[in-house]
Structures are given as structure tokens and as C-alpha cells.
């Protein structure tokens, strides 16, 4: 087998193994529930032995744990995530569909803006190293990195939605019945909060790798050939500096999927984050399971994609294999 293919297959296998173990953790966590799901659904009615036993049977709780797990995993893989324990006991997939779309739009917008901005900031900081701009960005990044994202969000709300200016809505109660494109003003503050939370990580990584590349021999060679500095930067240095940054970008998009919890909650944005907060508060286990599984799977998959991209585009990994 060609070494490159072997490396890719090993990486893919590890990703799948992690996904499998993640599902075990999510399933096992619910087994720690004092009492069981049947009790949780019936509440006070669980004293009624006949109904309790019937529901246990219906939910498959009378079977051994291993077959419960395989049954659950089989359902999850078929896209059946069970029914919510709260309200009308709607199907979890129906309940979460719109939320997943909303959050997907939110995260995509944040990624779409934050990555190019970070790349420009990182590249300029590297080229004008130790300049006023670089030092200013350093302080800016160090401050932003320190702040919890909901604190960044609150500061933005104070500045642009309430105390200082009243330009933007402070609550992002997106209406799922109307098209999202007409409600873009509701996305501005959450998206900006996420952008500000992501920029420091990506731009710092890009700055470091750009500095390293700019000091390499092939960049010196390009300069000695008499190429314009802008061409050296954009055509020779940056494409290589971005390679080690790909994984940081992937981690950060994955982080966005988890970090949206507090930001969505802050703005009352109807996405998976507020969905998770509500489900946890109501102890709606099927919804919690579905959302935690989704968020963890996004992390594993994005990492997998980043690793595979890195393997494919970095010559050292492609050719250095024996």
C-alpha cells in the first residue's frame, strides 16, 4: 500500500474510533441517571408499577445494557434520535432541525469573516514585526484571548445595543418562519462576538508561522531573484505559512460549535446552544444526547478534515514517508 494512503487510512480509522468512543461516553453518561428514563418521563406517576414497567419495556430499558447501547447507536445512525421528554414529546430531529440550521448559519458567517481577517492581521504582524501595529495587535489579542466570549458579547451589547449607542438589536430572536436573509441584523452582534473570539488564536498562529517562513532560505532566494516583496509574501511565503494554521482554523471552527452555547444564550438566539441550555435545565435527556453528540462529532470531523488536508498539501508529509 502506498505510504500516503496508509497514513490517510490510519488517520481515518483513528477518527472513527474517537467518534465511536464519544458515542459510548454520551450513552454511558445517561446510565448514571439516578433512576431511569422511564422514571424521568412519568415523574410522580412512576409509583404506578404497571405503567412504569410497561414504559420500561417500551423504551427497552429491561434489556441488558449492551443491547440497549447497540439499539440506541443503530437508531442514531439511522437518524432516529428518539422523542423529547418535555412538552408534546416531539421527535428530537424535528425539534432541532431549525436550530441546527440557525447555528450553522451563525458559525459559517463567523468563520467566513474571521478567517480572512485573521490571515491579514497575522501576515501584517509578521511582515511589520515589532512595529506599532504588531505590538498593538499583541495587546489586543492578549486581551481578547483572556475574555470569556459572553463577556465580549455583553461589552458589545453595552456599546452598540444599549448603554452607549442603540444601533443594533440586543436580542437575536430569529423567527424561523420568515426567511433568514431578511433578519440579518439579528446576526450581527452574535457573529461579531464570535469573530472577536476567534481572531486572536488564528492570527497569532499565522504570525508565528509567517515569521518562520519569511526567514527560510527559499524566501531569501525569491528576494535575491529580485521579486517584489508583495509577490514574495502573497505567492511564496503565505501559502506555506497557512499549512500549520489549517489545524488551528479547524480547531477554532469546532470551538465555535461549542462556544456558541454562551453566545447564543446571551443573545437569545434560537440555535443548538440555547437548545442545549434549555434541554439541560429541563433534563430532557434525548435532546441533550443528540446535541452533545452533534457538537462532539463536528469537532472530530473538522479535525479529521484538517489533518487530511495537511497531509495532502504539505510536501514534507507527502514525500518524507518511508
Amino acid at each position: 500500500m502506498p505510504p500516503l494512503l496508509k497514513l490517510l487510512l490510519i488517520r481515518l480509522g483513528l477518527g472513527l474510533l474517537t467518534l465511536f468512543l464519544v458515542s459510548v461516553v454520551v450513552f454511558a453518561a445517561t446510565q448514571a441517571l439516578p433512576g431511569d428514563a422511564a422514571k424521568a418521563i412519568l415523574g410522580k406517576d412512576s409509583a404506578d408499577k404497571v405503567r412504569y414497567e410497561a414504559l420500561r419495556k417500551e423504551l427497552g430499558l429491561d434489556k441488558p445494557m449492551l443491547s440497549q447501547y447497540t439499539g440506541w447507536l443503530g437508531d442514531v445512525l439511522k437518524g432516529n434520535l428518539g422523542n423529547s421528554l418535555v412538552g408534546g414529546q416531539a421527535k428530537v430531529t424535528e425539534l432541532l432541525k431549525q436550530r441546527v440550521i440557525n447555528s450553522f448559519v451563525l458559525v459559517s458567517l463567523a468563520a467566513l469573516f474571521s478567517i480572512p481577517i485573521s490571515i491579514v492581521i497575522g501576515a501584517f504582524s509578521a511582515v511589520y514585526r515589532d512595529s506599532k501595529f504588531d505590538n498593538g495587535m499583541n495587546i489586543f489579542n492578549l486581551t481578547l484571548v483572556s475574555l470569556p466570549e459572553f463577556v465580549i458579547g455583553i461589552i458589545l451589547v453595552l456599546l452598540f445595543a444599549t448603554a452607549v449607542f442603540q444601533w443594533l438589536p440586543s436580542v437575536s430572536n430569529v423567527d424561523s418562519r420568515a426567511p433568514l436573509s431578511g433578519q440579518m441584523d439579528l446576526f450581527i452582534l452574535p457573529v461579531v462576538t464570535l469573530i472577536l473570539a476567534v481572531i486572536p488564536y488564528v492570527s497569532r498562529m499565522l504570525r508565528a508561522s509567517t515569521i518562520e517562513v519569511l526567514e527560510s532560505e527559499y524566501v531569501m532566494m525569491a528576494r535575491l531573484k529580485g521579486l517584489k516583496e508583495s509577490r514574495v509574501l502573497w505567492h511564496h511565503a503565505l501559502p506555506n505559512a497557512i499549512i500549520p494554521t489549517i489545524q488551528v482554523i479547524a480547531i477554532n471552527i469546532a470551538w465555535l460549535a461549542g462556544g456558541i452555547v454562551t453566545v447564543e444564550y446571551l443573545f437569545g438566539f434560537p440555535g443548538i446552544g440555547t437548545g442545549l441550555v434549555d434541554a439541560v435545565a429541563n433534563r430532557d435527556m434525548p435532546v441533550v444526547q443528540a446535541l452533545v453528540l452533534l457538537i462532539a462529532a463536528v469537532y472530530v470531523l473538522l479535525n479529521l478534515i484538517a489533518d487530511i488536508l495537511t497531509i495532502l498539501i504539505s510536501p514534507r508529509l507527502r514525500t518524507g514517508l518511508r
Binding site: V22, F150, Q247, V280, N303
Partner: protein, 313 residues
């Protein structure tokens, strides 16, 4: 970043610490401990001083502030959401309690829970990292795979998964934040241990039959104290962020406790009417996380020896 690579993969980690250089100090009997040297070097940086002073001021406020608080934190002193007056300097909160008093009371939980979570994460992570880095082979592989799984859950989400089952218990929150630190701390420890295990003095100790536990804790651990100290600083910032976030979501300290994260949540509905009930805890949390991060950054720079020659950052 790669799940299987050993490079630090935490976004909070300054880039300077991503590569652990071979440690140059030899473990000679009475030499100054490595971590102490890092602390002394870090002290020469302005950012460390600013961070430490800010941190100590906030610590004093959080621990002793209650003694100069004008009211009780659960006492109703005026109408809800009153603006600051001479009587209550920062106004009142959503139930008419004094915001200034609650701010003075509300920091202790952030400090205690944040430090406890960091210590738990360090103990678990360092132990696993030492074992993993020294044992190698399948022990190493299985520990690292297990940690990859933990890594797949964002800290807040991991904590929420268990809160949904056991309810918002403080010990649970602290434990979960600690566990979520475990993978990154273990990776840093493992990388340093692998490096050190090849060195002659460790191999000599192995050769003369020193028990494994003694080698790990007496030979290896003292020689990786600097990167671990830096890691502790970074994790502390992160713990405080997580604990504050969980309180803000309503899964940390429960009402009627005074807690900075909880205060933000309780009073944000009237942010237009009485912003001070929100601004005060926001500023304090921000100052605290900035102070710990400045210290961590100073330590990281000192460890890499960037500033020993020039004395600048």
C-alpha cells in the same frame, strides 16, 4: 490541530510554549529549582508584574471585601434596578439588593472553584502524562486515545452533559472543568517526559533499579516543573472562564448566592435601565482573566528565555 500530535493544541496556549525545548539544566543536588528560576525570570517582565498586582488586588477584594461591605448580600435595600446613589454606590439589582455588596461577596466562589478545577486538572493530567510518557507503547497509546475522546467535548458542553444528569452541583462543575483540562496538560507533560526519559540520569536511575514511581516523582517531575507551571497559569485562566460561563448559564452557583457570573445573568434583562449591575461583575471577571493570562504569558516567555538577553518583551 492533529488529535494525535503532541504539540500543544489548546488555543489559549501562547505559541511560544508549543515546542518544548530539551531541558538544559541538569538535576544537581542543591541547584535552584527550575520552576523558581522561571518565576524569577518572569518577574523581570512588566506584564507579569501588572498581572500579579491586579490578581492580588482582586484576590484581596474577593476574600476580604465582605468585611467592608455596607449591607448583607441578601438584604433588600431599595427598589429593584435603582441607579447608583450615595446610599448604594453601584445601584441595586433585580431584587433590590446592593450591587456593591454583592460584587464584594461574589468573587470568592470564582477564585475557589477556578483554582480547585485547575488543581484537579493538573493532578489528573500530570499523572496521566507522566505514565504515558514513561511507559510508552500500548499504555501510552490507550491513554492518549482516551484523552482524544475527552478533547472532543468542549468544556462547557462536557460539564452540561453531566449537569443534565446529576443536576447543577458545584463539585460536579469543578470536576468536569478539571477533567476537560486533562488532555492538554497530559500532552504537555508527556512530551516533556518522553524527552527526559532518554537522558542519562534517568536511564542510570532505571539501570540501578530505582522503583518506577520514585523515578517519575523524584527524577522526572522536578525537571519538568517549568512547563507545568506555565501550564498551570494557562489552565487557571481557562478554569475561571469556564466557571464564570457555567454560572452565567445558570449551572454554577445557584441563587441567592452572590457570584459574578450569576450576577451578569440575573441583571442583564434591565441592562438599559441599570447597566451598573451588569458592568461591575463584567469588569471584575475581565480584569481577573486578563491578570491570570498576563501572568501565564510572562511565565511562558520566561521559560523560553526570550527576554533574558534583551530584557524586553
Amino acid at each position: 490541530m492533529s488529535q494525535s500530535s503532541d504539540a500543544g493544541l489548546d488555543p489559549l496556549q501562547p505559541l511560544e510554549t508549543l515546542e518544548l525545548e530539551p531541558l538544559q539544566t541538569l538535576p544537581i543536588g542543591k541547584q535552584r529549582p527550575e520552576w523558581l528560576q522561571t518565576v524569577l525570570d518572569a518577574w523581570s517582565l512588566r506584564r507579569t508584574k501588572i498581572g500579579l498586582v491586579l490578581f492580588l488586588v482582586l484576590l484581596v477584594v474577593a476574600v476580604f471585601g465582605r468585611f467592608w461591605a455596607p449591607y448583607s448580600p441578601t438584604e433588600f435595600v431599595g427598589p429593584p434596578f435603582s441607579l447608583p446613589t450615595a446610599e448604594y454606590w453601584l445601584g441595586t439589582d433585580f431584587l433590590g439588593r446592593d450591587v456593591y455588596t454583592r460584587v464584594l461577596y461574589g468573587g470568592l466562589s470564582v477564585f475557589v472553584l477556578g483554582i480547585a478545577a485547575t488543581v484537579i486538572g493538573m493532578v489528573l493530567g500530570v499523572s496521566l502524562g507522566l505514565i504515558s510518557g514513561y511507559a510508552r507503547r500500548w499504555v501510552d497509546e490507550s491513554i492518549m486515545r482516551m484523552l482524544d475522546v475527552v478533547l472532543a467535548f468542549p468544556s462547557v458542553v462536557l460539564a452540561m452533559l453531566f449537569v443534565s444528569i446529576l443536576g447543577p452541583r458545584l463539585w460536579l462543575i469543578v470536576l468536569m472543568v478539571g477533567i476537560s483540562h486533562m488532555p492538554r496538560i497530559a500532552r504537555v507533560t508527556r512530551a516533556a517526559t518522553v524527552d527526559l526519559a532518554q537522558r542519562d540520569f534517568v536511564r542510570a536511575a532505571t539501570a540501578v533499579g530505582v522503583p518506577r514511581r520514585r523515578i517519575l516523582f523524584r527524577e522526572v517531575l522536578p525537571n519538568i516543573s517549568s512547563p507545568l507551571l506555565v501550564e498551570f497559569g494557562l489552565r487557571l485562566t481557562y478554569s475561571i472562564i469556564m466557571i464564570a460561563a457555567l454560572s452565567f448559564l445558570g449551572f454554577g452557583m445557584q441563587p441567592p448566592s452572590a457570584d459574578w457570573g450569576l450576577m451578569i445573568n440575573e441583571n442583564r434583562i434591565a441592562i438599559t435601565v441599570q447597566p451598573w449591575a451588569v458592568i461591575s461583575p463584567v469588569i471584575l471577571i475581565a480584569a481577573l482573566t486578563i491578570s491570570t493570562n498576563l501572568m501565564a504569558d510572562g511565565l511562558a516567555r520566561a521559560m523560553m528565555g526570550i527576554d533574558r538577553t534583551t530584557g524586553t518583551t
